[in-house]
Point group: C2
Chain length 97, copies 2
Amino acid sequence: MEPDPTVTDPQLYKILFENDRVRVLRYTDKPGDRTKPHAHPDSVLITLSKFQRRLTVGDRTVDVEKSPHEVIWNAAQTHVGENTGTTDTDVIFVELK
Amino acid sequence: MEPDPTVTDPQLYKILFENDRVRVLRYTDKPGDRTKPHAHPDSVLITLSKFQRRLTVGDRTVDVEKSPHEVIWNAAQTHVGENTGTTDTDVIFVELK
């Protein structure tokens, strides 16, 4: 899906694995970091750190607070994410093809 | 796929999430624990702990040693796993449908 987060924010997203069924990304940032608008297909997120973020999807803004080792289903979407907390974000995205 | 690990080893596998595209399992065990034979579809594994295991797939046996936050592709297979180390295993399976 476009725009691809590994293109819009290559300093924040790394590709860990890819085949014909999935692409696995690791997203890491620091407090105050903010992504450019980007899209994910249907994905499973696994949190590795505790963090607080503000997500903007279209005209909706939502503040989330997560703990390590949570599993979150994200239906395909375009969004912006901003680290609004005091800890680094560390997340694995399993993007489905 | 059968036999389902949440049926063969319900004390080791917990279902964290399920929809029409994925089933997400968390597997945790202690040194010396051994699963019954069970099957996974194509899956992405995310390790949460450091561990050593012996995997038996058909007549092949392989010893693996993993660190936290590794990502591993597992093509559909039937196997037995045994914790051969001194630390607990903690893994998330994202099973693809």
